[in-house]
Symmetry: D5
Subunit: 152 residues, 10 copies
Amino acid sequence: KSLIPRLPESSPTLFEAKKARNLTFEDIARKLGREEVAVAALFYGQAKASPEDIKNLSELFDVPHEVLENQLSAWPDRGRTLDMPPKEPLIYRLYEIVQNYGYAYKAVLNEKFGDGIMSAISFSTKVEKETDEKGDWVVITLRGKWLPYTRF
Amino acid sequence: KSLIPRLPESSPTLFEAKKARNLTFEDIARKLGREEVAVAALFYGQAKASPEDIKNLSELFDVPHEVLENQLSAWPDRGRTLDMPPKEPLIYRLYEIVQNYGYAYKAVLNEKFGDGIMSAISFSTKVEKETDEKGDWVVITLRGKWLPYTRF
Amino acid sequence: KSLIPRLPESSPTLFEAKKARNLTFEDIARKLGREEVAVAALFYGQAKASPEDIKNLSELFDVPHEVLENQLSAWPDRGRTLDMPPKEPLIYRLYEIVQNYGYAYKAVLNEKFGDGIMSAISFSTKVEKETDEKGDWVVITLRGKWLPYTRF
Amino acid sequence: KSLIPRLPESSPTLFEAKKARNLTFEDIARKLGREEVAVAALFYGQAKASPEDIKNLSELFDVPHEVLENQLSAWPDRGRTLDMPPKEPLIYRLYEIVQNYGYAYKAVLNEKFGDGIMSAISFSTKVEKETDEKGDWVVITLRGKWLPYTRF
Amino acid sequence: KSLIPRLPESSPTLFEAKKARNLTFEDIARKLGREEVAVAALFYGQAKASPEDIKNLSELFDVPHEVLENQLSAWPDRGRTLDMPPKEPLIYRLYEIVQNYGYAYKAVLNEKFGDGIMSAISFSTKVEKETDEKGDWVVITLRGKWLPYTRF
Amino acid sequence: KSLIPRLPESSPTLFEAKKARNLTFEDIARKLGREEVAVAALFYGQAKASPEDIKNLSELFDVPHEVLENQLSAWPDRGRTLDMPPKEPLIYRLYEIVQNYGYAYKAVLNEKFGDGIMSAISFSTKVEKETDEKGDWVVITLRGKWLPYTRF
Amino acid sequence: KSLIPRLPESSPTLFEAKKARNLTFEDIARKLGREEVAVAALFYGQAKASPEDIKNLSELFDVPHEVLENQLSAWPDRGRTLDMPPKEPLIYRLYEIVQNYGYAYKAVLNEKFGDGIMSAISFSTKVEKETDEKGDWVVITLRGKWLPYTRF
Amino acid sequence: KSLIPRLPESSPTLFEAKKARNLTFEDIARKLGREEVAVAALFYGQAKASPEDIKNLSELFDVPHEVLENQLSAWPDRGRTLDMPPKEPLIYRLYEIVQNYGYAYKAVLNEKFGDGIMSAISFSTKVEKETDEKGDWVVITLRGKWLPYTRF
Amino acid sequence: KSLIPRLPESSPTLFEAKKARNLTFEDIARKLGREEVAVAALFYGQAKASPEDIKNLSELFDVPHEVLENQLSAWPDRGRTLDMPPKEPLIYRLYEIVQNYGYAYKAVLNEKFGDGIMSAISFSTKVEKETDEKGDWVVITLRGKWLPYTRF
Amino acid sequence: KSLIPRLPESSPTLFEAKKARNLTFEDIARKLGREEVAVAALFYGQAKASPEDIKNLSELFDVPHEVLENQLSAWPDRGRTLDMPPKEPLIYRLYEIVQNYGYAYKAVLNEKFGDGIMSAISFSTKVEKETDEKGDWVVITLRGKWLPYTRF
């Protein structure tokens, strides 16, 4: 697959093991005690695996611990998978939300919190599914620490 | 302010009226029965005002109904306020979330919903504030209809 | 061919099988009960094959079912084949139509349908040939669901 | 409105007259014997008005013939209204269709017509509305002359 | 050579055969009954070879007909060789001519022909050499069909 | 017209005088003893007017010599009118010719002339119209001095 | 000055008052109890003025408090002054440091602190001058809170 | 790892030796008598190794002197590792500091030093860690020679 | 002239005074004891005027000293006049020299001077004219201090 | 080294031979009777080798004449080594000189020579070293033929 040259060497190992065991991100997330998005980010090299994660993944996938430890030891070099603006329609929709509502979020956040930003590091996110008579709905929650600008 | 040439003519009218009355987006949202982010988006020309919105804004701001109706009659020409990548640190953090977690969201959503996208049109969003011993947290919720690709 | 590194591994399998059997997209589309453009999109990794498609392609091409199933199991990572603006003259003409008539389409659609978009997901398209005394004409039809903006 | 500096001087004249008379593009198209999209393109300076168009517009809008003739006399300088990639969600969806299906269209067209392009000049387009139990559907038709490459 | 990954597989075959036989584009053009620029374009994968071209090239180069037929069977995917703006000084000069005289050409063509374009598809071009006391001169001729915009 | 801020102050003077006198570029070119394209380039500020040109234009347009002399005295700051890639369909076709045939021109020119470039400065160009039973044809001739690279 | 259209309306007020009183950033910083860089950032609209800052600036510059309060009341819309890559040689040197040493900083910081970032919001910076026999040296100190990635 | 094609051949040698010996940049820096950032820059091919550095690295890593000397003999071709704007969040924060405070630094430096720049060549930098009750802080120091513009 | 919005306010003053007095850059350079290029750079806001320059310019142009002093007091905000790549053919040729010979200069300079750069700040440049039987030649000399990288 | 895929096949041959024989560009230039920069340009595939150059290089490097002749026979495809803006600090400084002084050079050259350009083809350049009490200085000379615009 054409993303591979941009991914760390751990990615094929993880995706192939997942496919071979026929596991979902939900299964893996439950095992690791993490959110599905975090697990998927870890698969794409966008998050750091803790020693427990490595141990759990090794057990779950029956991949030698030392292989995973070696491949997952580097500090994530985030942001390599995706060129902006995204061409993938699903990811583009998220980008469009930022483009269309960016200043609206800023205006509301400044009013509610003052001068600062929502951290994307002290941050967690999750995805949920809701279903009603109109069909299925995706609910994405972004939760980040408010960081006020330091006065200096 | 330098954003003005990129905003519709309704924007200065609305922002000045809001400032003069010293109203928050929360106040206005309550009056309009809409979310704060939707109200801010309307101020930036990124959302359409309904006739009731115009009536309510006219009352709240004591601006002649006909002025607002005239200025808010155009179909929004969305996306003019913001150049990508965003330079504003607050908005950049949202962009970075898309960049870093884009493929992770896609992987999880495909697994949970199949082949499709989360709509950014059949869509709503809101901002909430949580406070704990570590400080304040921003919680942004994105809720969009799942649209499966049509088979043709 | 130089597109290959940007295509999923299923693409060479499919294109070679098609060439070896000397089949047209029309032949394949008839067998699959799909539109020619959808079939070509599937070949380029821009559309998802259903289990029936895989079964039909396997029969038609005499490629082991398991090979195709394996290669076509990934969720399409759309948008990788083409850099914008397109350099290919045929594709550029389509791009030019969007550039030249984009606002005209928007103005007419807003007037006819209100505030919203034509979906590119709940969407189908087809290509037809017409011939008259002046020569051949291409007729491309785009049909997408109208999605009104949610009021929130 | 912020598009104005990028539009020819005829645009405000035409849009204001249309608004004042409360006419739709459909009304104007009927009067001019042209397609709605062509009329909207003419309003945005993307199409040339014929002498009959000018005469008809002058009558319909009760704008002095000489004013319109003067403002509409320049050769259209097409492509000034829209930056690519489009930020407007409605127009972006059309762009995305080109991006996602570009090579699929090319593959099918080459197979059906040979080596050439669909003209965007010997070209017409129209927009139609269909409604079924699932809601409203937009149908856009693109019809262009097939131009084979000259052998030289 | 570094262009190779961007060229179709026929290109090395053709260039190497040409070099081995020590033939000029002029020689080949004479054999094929085509213009030199068309032949060079064919070598770079920017033009389609007809069955006669393949037969003639096979004879001239003593390359098995079936090899050439196979490598030249794909529809040209034009525009892959060159990134714009061109960095090569010779090609940049052509680009500069378009940049500097683009609007002048348009103004003159509109005046002489009306509202339309010169086709780059129903098109031929040739290169000639002239010599006078000041030195050598390149004369490039571009000849394209005038396509008026369809009124619709 | 929206090009005006990018044009020198002489441009509106010249275009308005031309329109008022209802003269074509051909008329003016005949008076000045220059090519039509050169005249149009001069109107767009892409070429230098000689003292005789100024004198002739002043007579032809009945504009005071001193006005024209003053406005046309600056050294042309070429290249300001056009952003690349060009959005205007007519100009884009010329750009596409460079993109598609760039390396082919280079290959043929290197073979015919050696290592060098065709000058775009010691250069002239003209536009001609041919008509046959298939319609009208544009013939553009580019003639530039061949400059060999200096050996140093 | 050509930056003005990109600056908030407070900027000319502040720069002119500073010039009229012949004050340095050092003078103003001392009065406000802030760092010089913070003061300059405030002048360019890149930092928020506190009520005390406004009071102090009003006294120092003898500008009516209400004028400053009004002009400085908006939330900073950061990042509007500078296009990247910077063209200004002084600012480019800072950009080059990031470009050349970016991965080196990351490698060292990951090793010293773990997986996270240095905040640019919980952040302060200052500029100092050192002089030795070789001449003058600029010392810029960047001090930011280390934010570890949240595990989720 | 995906950065490798952009790094000189010395990089894998050095990173693997470092990992095998389990050494930190701090360890290596102490051995070489250099700053940690300089050492990391050397690993990424962004700094030149002196003969002593090569000797020391050879001893420390037990890699044949001649291997290192050979791989480290080229003049650094700086700037190949990082595309701007940086996608990596840690590096982006440094970029953002330049973007947000660029003109503020310039204003303060011009006032303190006159017309010139801070050199990024006659330059050193270091990273330190501070810890207080609020957590850990990164302190980056940039020290560069002030270069006044030559009057000529 | 269309460059004006990007130039400091001193530029029109200086260019108009120069034109009114019919002075060449050579005349002014002689009066100021500076190089012609430095004088032209000063006119475009790319260099700083010293108090003597201001005094000399005031005398030469008979413009009140205080006007010039006021307009020329700002620190130059260099790099605003020119977008890269340059579209102006004359300036493009200089850019092309950097593009074509950039690595060659680097290779030769590293070999002659070691690891470092030629300063563009401790730098002067001049333009000379030579004439021989082949015509006129431009000789541009760039002279900059060699700055070795600091070892740290 | 990471530049290699962008270089012609002759480059590794030449660089390795140079390194093996421990020759400087100065040595090679003397042997070839060419300038050092021209030699380095030839090594990077930016200049054409004459038959004498090939003979001389073959002797000097003791590389079979036929190998060099074969590898150096292609017409240079200039401009492939360097992306603009250059990231390498040494090359960036040259780029910055064009950016900062581009219009100044143009203004002086127009005044001294009229309407035209300095050729980058009928062009030579050299690098010299000067040393004084302040240190080392680089002197780069650019010498190009003045080409006046043809009047047509």
